[in-house]
Structure formats: structure tokens, C-alpha cells
Amino acid sequence: MSVRTLVINGKDVAGDADQTILEVARENSIHIPTLCHLKGLSDVGACRLCVVEVAGVNKLLAACVTKVEEGMSVVTDSPTLHDYRRTIIEMLFMERNHVCSVCVANNHCELQDAAKELGLTHFDLPPLEPVVEVDASHERFVIDHNRCILCTRCVRVCDEIEEAHTWDVFDRGAGCRVITDMGTPWGESRTCTSCGKCVQVCPTGALFEKGRSVAEAKHRRRFLPYLRALEQDQQ
């Protein structure tokens, strides 16, 4: 344990050198919005919603992947950060086809919640409205790419917890997709154990169990920290 002392929003706080700004902030009841972060999984800084201002650094840093340093001065909320976060959420909504009112995850969606938290009342950016595929070939689950925000929680939980590594990320830019087994249909995957962890960690309605209708896809995520703790005990 190597203690680092720093200032977050004018408050003196302390954390371990291995901890991120996000972890230390949360331990001190300082709220930073997140989307791709999920306790129990590694952090990748994919969504950038947790960006913060650090004194002396001329760019914004993702709190989930930035380790605390001695003497650091961090601001987690400002008009600039609020604007950036709103734009991130707006871009996520405009990139694919998100229709909250008829989505399986309606009312159980972290993208919908983030829009509410940031006070988005409408979207000014032009929507891409792409034709996006839905893969329902798996016996029990569906991946609807219309709702995917590429947070990669499914990829991480499959690799780090289930250790099957069925999911991965394919292509770049607007063509980027999460894929199963090098791009074969999910139902034909030879590595998928059908454990359903990916479905439970999905922040939106992109991954859901068959038979779920509008607003019926509740996620159960509390298993993750327990599984992670068990794993660490065994090592």
C-alpha cells in the first residue's frame, strides 16, 4: 500500500497508488457518470463519459483508467465537462437506432439514465440511421446491434470472468461491431457456453434474453464482484 494524497473538487482525499481517480472519487462519495465501467471488470475508457479535468494537463482524462498521483488536483464537474458528456451521449444516440419507447431495456437502460442525468431534452446532431443487423441465431439470447454502444462489457466479462472469449470487437468507426467467434453467427459459436453473463452486463437493450418484450429486460449484475472476489481468493 502506497498512499497518494490529492484534491478532488477542492476536497482533500487519499487513495492507493494502484487506484484510479474514479475509484477514489466513489470512495469519497464524489459522483462521476460512467457507462462502459462496471465494477468487477477491467476498465478500458471506451465511452469517455467519466472524463475529468486535471490541473496542469491540457487534455481531459478518463477517470476510470487514470491512476491517482501525489498532489493531483481533479475537477469532476464543470460546464465544459457537462457539455462534453452531453455530446458523448447525443453521439451514442445518433450513431445507431435507439428507440427507448419500444426497447426491451426501456426503464432499465444506462444510456437512457445518462441522458436523463445530463438533462438532454432533444438531439441536435444529425442521426446516422444505419441499417443494422440483429442476430437471433442463439437458442436463448439475441444481439441487436441497433442498441449497441460498443462499451465492450460483453467482451470483457466473457474473457475475464467466463474465460470463453467468445466476444470480440471487429472493424473500426461506424462499421465497428461486437462479434462472436471471428464473425460467425452467435448460434453457431463453438466457444460460447451460453452462460448469459454478457446479457446481464449489457448497459442497454443490445443483448437480451429471448421472450423479453418492451421494458422487460432487467439486468442482474450483482454476481460480478462476487465472482471476481472468488477468483482472486483462488489465486
Binding site: Q112, A115, T121, E129
Partner: protein, 177 residues
């Protein structure tokens, strides 16, 4: 002082926002005491008045008829409120946008029909290439998303507007549900 005027307009939506408006229940009496409902699917007036203080718009702009109507409404309205997800984001009407109106009409009027399959050519207004939120077509003063917005939200917005204030809906905003 003359009484304020209120109008509601129904474009490409399911009328759920109007049902939510009616769900204001006894508060409708309060609204009626302070404003006259001068044009609405709920009242029998054919012509939009020369100038209306507040107009609530439900639905996306999906057809040539919607487009003509919303431009006319905007020209004759002081404060235009985009009411509900269809007006604010195009919502369900916008789900056909990736495919365009051609495949949509084909699916609805030809493929899924067992007798007398034909595309509508009379009475039914021509669809626009894309179904659009109201603010992509005309200026909007207040946004109230929700599918539908609750009666409480609608009352709060109408109440504020009739009191001469522009409500900040950011704190109560939510898409869907």
C-alpha cells in the same frame, strides 16, 4: 387582459400524448379557466387561428401533409412545444428511416395484404423520405420528451407557460417509458 389561447396538434403519433394531456383530469378545469383551447383534435375547430399563444405538437413530421401543417402552425404560434418522443426524436415513426418509404409501403400495403394489394394513391398523404423530429423542420421553443410525457409533466409545462415563464424541462426530461 384577454385570455391566453392554447392549441394542440396531432402529426405522426399514436395520440398517446393527447391521452396523457386528458389525464390531467381535474387540472384541465384549471387550464380551461386560464386559457381557451382554440384548436385541437379534442375540439371541433377546422381552421387554425391567426395567432395562438401556446401550441403543443404531438408526433413526428412524416408526410407532406405533416410538413405543410407544422409550417402553418409555426407561423401562427408564439410558443411551440414539442410534446413527446415522436415530436422530439421521431421515435417509432422514425424507425422506417434506415429503409425509406418505398420498402415500408411495400411491406404494409403489398406483402402483408391478402386481397386487393395496392399502394395508396388518393387521400393518404405522400410520405416524406425521412420521418423527422419537429425541430428539424421548424423552430421549437420547449421540448418535453417521454412516451408519453406524464400528465404531471404536461401540466407543469402548460402551467409555467400560462404564467409567462419558459419552463426548463432538462430536470424532468426522460426518453421512453
Amino acid at each position: 387582459m384577454t385570455k391566453a389561447t392554447l392549441a394542440t396538434v396531432w402529426l405522426d403519433g399514436c395520440s398517446g400524448c393527447h391521452m396523457s394531456f386528458l389525464d390531467m383530469d381535474e387540472r384541465l378545469l384549471d387550464v380551461a379557466a386560464r386559457a381557451d383551447l382554440v384548436y385541437s383534435p379534442l375540439v371541433d375547430v377546422k381552421e387554425f387561428p391567426a395567432m395562438v399563444d401556446v401550441t403543443l405538437v404531438e408526433g413526428a413530421v412524416s408526410s407532406e401533409d405533416d410538413l405543410e401543417k407544422i409550417r402553418m402552425v409555426r407561423a401562427h404560434t408564439r410558443i411551440l412545444v414539442s410534446l413527446g418522443d415522436c415530436a422530439v426524436t421521431a421515435n417509432v415513426p422514425g424507425m422506417r428511416n434506415p429503409y425509406g418509404p418505398g420498402p415500408l409501403l411495400q411491406r404494409a400495403y403489398i406483402e402483408n395484404v391478402t386481397i386487393n394489394a395496392q399502394l395508396p394513391s388518393q387521400v393518404v398523404p405522400k410520405l416524406l423520405a425521412k420521418s423527422r423530429p419537429v425541430h428539424k423542420v421548424v423552430d421549437v421553443d420547449v421540448f418535453l420528451p417521454g412516451c408519453p410525457p406524464s400528465a404531471d409533466q404536461i401540466f407543469w409545462v402548460v402551467d409555467e407557460l400560462l404564467a409567462g415563464r419558459i419552463p426548463d424541462t432538462a430536470k424532468m426530461s426522460r426518453f421512453g417509458t
